[in-house]
């Protein structure tokens, strides 16, 4: 799993002189201090972002091992690392001030080599990048991996474009009234607008707008808005609304077209079933399946965790499965008390109420894993995405966080 490089030697000079002098210590055996490099990013690895520790931990979802950490500067809400497979780099949009939480602010993108995880560069960008608790759609790499797009909020809604080859800021383009960045091509992306449309823009290499088109209004931002969390399937982006309507947007057409269908039947709706969570959905591109966290609840519960993951076949336009999530609360408390397994573990499992999951991700390989967390629990569950079987937990993932990011 791990490779070792860059041996740095002995620090034994700090041994007490007396210890050396009176021969109580034999300086054999001796193990040198080494430094680990990352193996090539595997399809089953996942970044787990924590807002309290202000960092992301990379886990191997097969072994449950943590592989590495990328820390964030002192901005409020850390953004997950963005993986460029073509350059084998991670990009982290950050912001920091001169005196901790005070003083002049600098926004920048840190470039990490994905093998050494050393910071290779900081690219300073205009101080306007936005933040939200989950930063869903707040920064994305456009297709091909050359251009990073970052959503800005203050003083204006816009998107900054950064050339990751030249490592320079290109320009920003106005996206007033819209939020989020959903890549659709090498120099194009879509954004969700308050008037119920989805706008797609394309720029040239200098960041100048060369195409700008919108879908017709396909959702109602007040009565049944779509969640910010979109799922990409090839040339399509799939969104789900508060009530469970699935909007499948196809960017091959110009302007993009939308196919909408309800993921919730009338009886289910009467039971209150609806999608809910932070990173509420994830799609497997090859299988063309959409996975969505569902719970029975009232209006206003659209960020609540849910006990189930519903699986939709995007081609057929129908639900094909419902997975029940394991009791992550019980596992978390058992871990806290050091009581894993055994009778007490079983007791906890049956006593502690499960609050469910609110954050979902999926790996894109042929044996896909579904990754689920509850933003206020220190563990994440790993499920077989084909069967819903609970395979294992990732433990000690942090204190609180709203993102799980699969690097490829």
């Amino acid at each position: 799993m791990l490779r070792f490089i860059g041996l740095i030697g002995l620090l034994a000079w700090l041994l007490p002189a007396t210890a050396l002098a009176d021969s109580t210590t034999d300086l054999e055996p001796f193990e040198a201090l080494e430094f680990v490099e990352l193996e090539p990013i595997s399809p089953h690895s996942v970044w787990v972002t924590d807002v309290i520790f202000r960092q992301s931990l990379l886990f191997d979802a097969d072994s449950g091992e943590a592989l590495a950490t990328i820390g964030n500067a002192l901005g409020s809400f850390p953004k997950p690392p963005i993986f460029s497979s073509s350059r084998n780099e991670f990009y982290v949009p950050e912001a920091q001030r001169k005196w901790g939480h005070r003083g002049e602010r600098t926004d920048f993108v840190t470039v990490y080599d994905a093998k050494t995880l050393n910071a290779e560069a900081q690219i300073v960008i205009p101080t306007q990048s936005g933040e939200s608790a989950g930063n869903i759609g707040y920064a994305n790499l456009l297709d091909g991996g050359d251009t990073l797009a970052i959503y800005n909020q203050f003083p204006a809604q816009s998107v900054s474009l950064i050339d990751m080859g030249e490592r320079t800021f290109i320009d920003s383009i106005s996206t007033g009234g819209c939020a989020g960045i959903y890549p659709t091509g090498e120099l194009s992306f879509a954004t969700l607008c308050g008037d119920g449309t989805l706008r797609e823009v394309e720029v040239d290499a200098r960041g100048q707008l060369i195409r700008d088109e919108s879908t017709s209004a396909f959702f109602d931002a007040v009565n049944d808005p779509v969640m910010m969390n979109g799922s990409r399937v090839g040339d399509r982006w799939v969104f789900i609304s508060f009530s469970g309507v699935i909007h499948d947007v196809d960017f091959r057409a110009s302007p993009p077209t939308v196919r909408s269908w309800s993921g919730v039947s009338a009886p289910e709706k009467s039971e209150g079933w609806r999608p809910g969570g932070r990173q509420v959905s994830a799609a497997h591109q090859k299988l063309e399946r959409l996975y969505v966290l569902f719970h029975p609840g009232e209006s206003g519960s659209h960020k609540d965790p849910g006990p189930e993951v519903w699986v939709f076949d995007l081609e057929a336009g129908s639900r094909i499965d419902r997975f029940s999530l394991p009791n992550m609360d019980a596992s978390a408390i058992a871990g806290l008390l050091g009581l894993e397994g055994g009778f007490t573990g079983w007791l906890l499992e049956n006593i502690v109420p499960a609050t469910g999951g609110d954050t979902l991700a999926i790996t894109q390989d042929d044996e896909p894993l579904l990754l689920v967390r509850n933003s206020s629990l220190p563990i994440a569950a790993v499920l077989d995405a084909r069967t819903g079987e609970h395979l294992r937990n990732l433990t000690e993932i942090g204190i609180s966080g709203f993102r799980l990011t699969v690097p490829r």
């Binding site: 409020s76 939480h101 909020q153 203050f154 007033g176 989020g180 910010m228």
Partner: protein
Amino acid sequence: MSRLDRWLEDSARGLARGAGRRSFLARVGRFSLGALGASTLPLLPVARADNESHALPEDVDGPEGDPGDCNYWRHCAIDGFLCECCGGSTTACPPGTSSSPVTWVGTCLNPADDTHYMISYNDCCGKGYCGRCNCNRNEGERPDYHWYRANDINWCGGAPSQSYHCSVARVIGRASEQQPER
């Protein structure tokens, strides 16, 4: 972090208005016009009386009446640490913090008079997470593109420091009907 911590502070709420508000508003207005894109955004309120605040009915028992409780009626669309538990109050930022002139609103039902009020949830900024009385409720809350109803956004982005500390829940008007939603 623990949830729904019972917290027994007297509600200390200031009701006086500052003389500097109109000039502050003028600045904010300029800022908003130039800054926030022309497509959706509102201007200054057109018609407001400038007289003193009416006192709100306050005799609510239980968690709906406890400003340090997540179930407090004003918190129906809040997201974050309650300033009540961080050295501030329902309407005041804690010592040494600043705030953003832009923020999100909610429409909450006051059980004392069965009336819906507009609530402004200002973030108090310039210190790290307070870490107490974490509360997330989302009645009428909307995604980031419907930004003035969106509580996920770090509204400290518009403050002198983007560090998020805690949130208040001020009444800024009466709403004749509930925010539509389903």
